[in-house]
Amino acid sequence: MTKLFTPLLIVTAALFAYAPFAIQNAPYESTMGLVQKIFYFHVPAWIAMFLAAMVCGIAGAIVIFAGRKDADRVAQAAAELAVVFGLMGLITGPLWGRKAWGVWWQWDARLTSALVMWLVFVAYLLLRKYGGAGSEKLSAVLALFGMANVPFVYWSVNVWRTVHPKTSVVMTLEPSMGIPFLLCSLAFVGLFAVLLAARVRLETVRGSVDELYLSLED
C-alpha cells in the first residue's frame, strides 16, 4: 500500500488538475445547458460515497464477527469519507435541482435514501466521537444496519414518484461527454483511495503510539 500511495497520489492530482479543462471542453447538454456540467462532479462524489459506505459496512461486519482492530480503522476512515463525499453530493445536487426542477429539494426516492444514508454515517461519527470506550462494536453494527436499510428506504420512498435522472443514462453517454465523466469518476475514486490510505495510516500510527505509551507506563 505504501508503495502504491505516491503514484496514486500523483495520478489523482493530475486527474483533478485536468478535470476542469475536460469539463470545459465537453459539449453542452441540449436541454439543461451549462448547469448540467455539475454532474461531472456530482455523480462521481456519490460513487465515492457509496464506495466508502460499502467499505465501511464490510469492514464493520469483519469487526463484529472477527473482532479485528485494523478493520475497525478502515471502517472509521471510510465512514468519515462517506460523510465528506456525501456532503459534496448533497451540496452539488440542490444547486442543479434549483435550476432543473425549480426547487432545492424534492422528497424523491434517490434524494431521500441518499440523505438517510448520509445521516447514518453522521450518526456513526457522532457515536465514535461521543460514545466513549466500547463504541467500536456498536458503530460496526450501525454500519451494517445502515447498509441493510438502504433498499428499504429506497423502496419506501420510491412509491412516491421519482424525478431524479436515472443512473443508466451514464452508460449511453456520447464519448465527448463520457470521457470527461470517466476521468472525473476516476479522480474521485482515486481521491477516496488516497484519503482512505492516509487516514488508516494515521490511525495505525496513533494506535502504536498509544501502545508504546502504555508499555512505557507499565
Binding site: I64, F65, G67, V116, L119, V120, A123, L126, L127, Y130, G131, G132, A133, G134, S135, K137, L138, A140, V141, L142, L144, F145, G146, A148, N149, F152, V153, W155, S156, V157, V159
Partner: protein, 232 residues
C-alpha cells in the same frame, strides 16, 4: 436446575420478560412516564397541526407514529437504564443461556410496554383528530403491531449496546431514527391510506407487507449480531 441443563430458548425469553414485567409492575415507573410523555406529545402536535378546529390532512397518522417513536425511544432508554444501574445487564450476559434469547426477552418486554401506550394513545388520537382509526381494526392493529416490532427490534439492540457508552441518552435517538425511517414512512403512509374518506385498502396492505419484510430482515440481523456485539 442442574448445571448441565440449560433452559430452552422460549423458557429464557419468558424468564427475562417476566423479570422485566415484575420489576415494572412494582414501580410502574416506565409505563406511567412513557404514557404521559406520549399524551403530551400528541397534545403538543395538536397545537401545531389543528387549524380552526380542523386537522391538517394526514396529521393524525403522522402524529400517532411520531408519538409512538418518541415514547418508544424514552421507554427503551429507561428500560436499559434500569439494567445499567447495578450492572445487571452484565449479569444477564454472564448467565449460561442463549444470548439471542436474552435479546428476544428484552424485546418482548419493550413491546408489551409500547402496546400499553398504544392502547391509550390510538383512541386519544382518534378522538382529538376525529380520525376513523378504528374503521378497519384488523389492518390498523397489524400496522401498529408490525411497525412497533420493527422499531423496537432495532431499538432494543441499539439500547442494549449503548448501555456501556457515554452520552447514551442522546445517542439512542440519533442512531435509531435514521435506521427506522422506513418503519415511520410505512406506518404513516399505511395509516393515512386507512384514514382517507374511501379507505385505500390495497395501499395499506402494501405498506403492511413492507413492514413485515422489514421486521424479518432486522430481527434476523439483530439476532445474528447481538452475541458478537455484546461480548467484550
Amino acid at each position: 436446575m442442574s448445571p448441565e441443563r440449560r433452559p430452552s430458548f422460549v423458557a429464557t425469553v419468558w424468564l427475562v420478560t417476566r423479570k422485566d414485567l415484575l420489576i415494572e409492575f412494582r414501580s410502574r415507573e416506565v409505563v406511567y412516564t412513557t404514557l404521559f410523555f406520549a399524551v403530551a406529545c400528541v397534545l403538543v402536535f395538536a397545537f401545531g397541526f389543528v387549524r380552526e378546529g380542523i386537522a391538517v390532512d394526514d396529521a393524525a397518522a403522522g402524529i400517532l407514529w411520531i408519538a409512538i417513536a418518541f415514547s418508544g425511544t424514552l421507554a427503551l432508554g429507561r428500560t436499559f437504564e434500569r439494567e445499567r444501574q447495578n450492572d445487571t445487564l452484565r449479569a444477564l450476559m454472564l448467565a449460561p443461556v442463549d444470548r439471542p434469547a436474552l435479546y428476544v426477552g428484552k424485546l418482548v418486554g419493550v413491546l408489551l410496554l409500547l402496546a400499553a401506550v398504544e392502547v391509550i394513545v390510538t383512541p386519544l388520537v382518534a378522538l382529538m383528530f376525529v380520525a376513523p382509526l378504528f374503521a378497519h381494526p384488523l389492518l390498523m392493529g397489524l400496522l401498529l403491531a408490525t411497525g412497533t416490532i420493527g422499531f423496537a427490534a432495532v431499538g432494543t439492540l441499539f439500547a442494549a449496546m449503548l448501555v456501556r457508552a457515554r452520552s447514551r441518552d442522546v445517542l439512542l435517538p440519533i442512531l435509531l431514527y435514521p435506521i427506522t425511517i422506513p418503519v415511520i414512512i410505512a406506518g404513516v403512509r399505511g395509516t393515512a391510506a386507512l384514514l382517507q374518506p374511501q379507505a385505500d385498502l390495497p395501499i395499506a396492505r402494501m405498506w403492511l407487507s413492507m413492514l413485515v419484510f422489514f421486521d424479518i430482515v432486522f430481527i434476523t440481523l439483530a439476532l445474528w449480531t447481538f452475541e458478537p456485539a455484546m461480548t467484550e
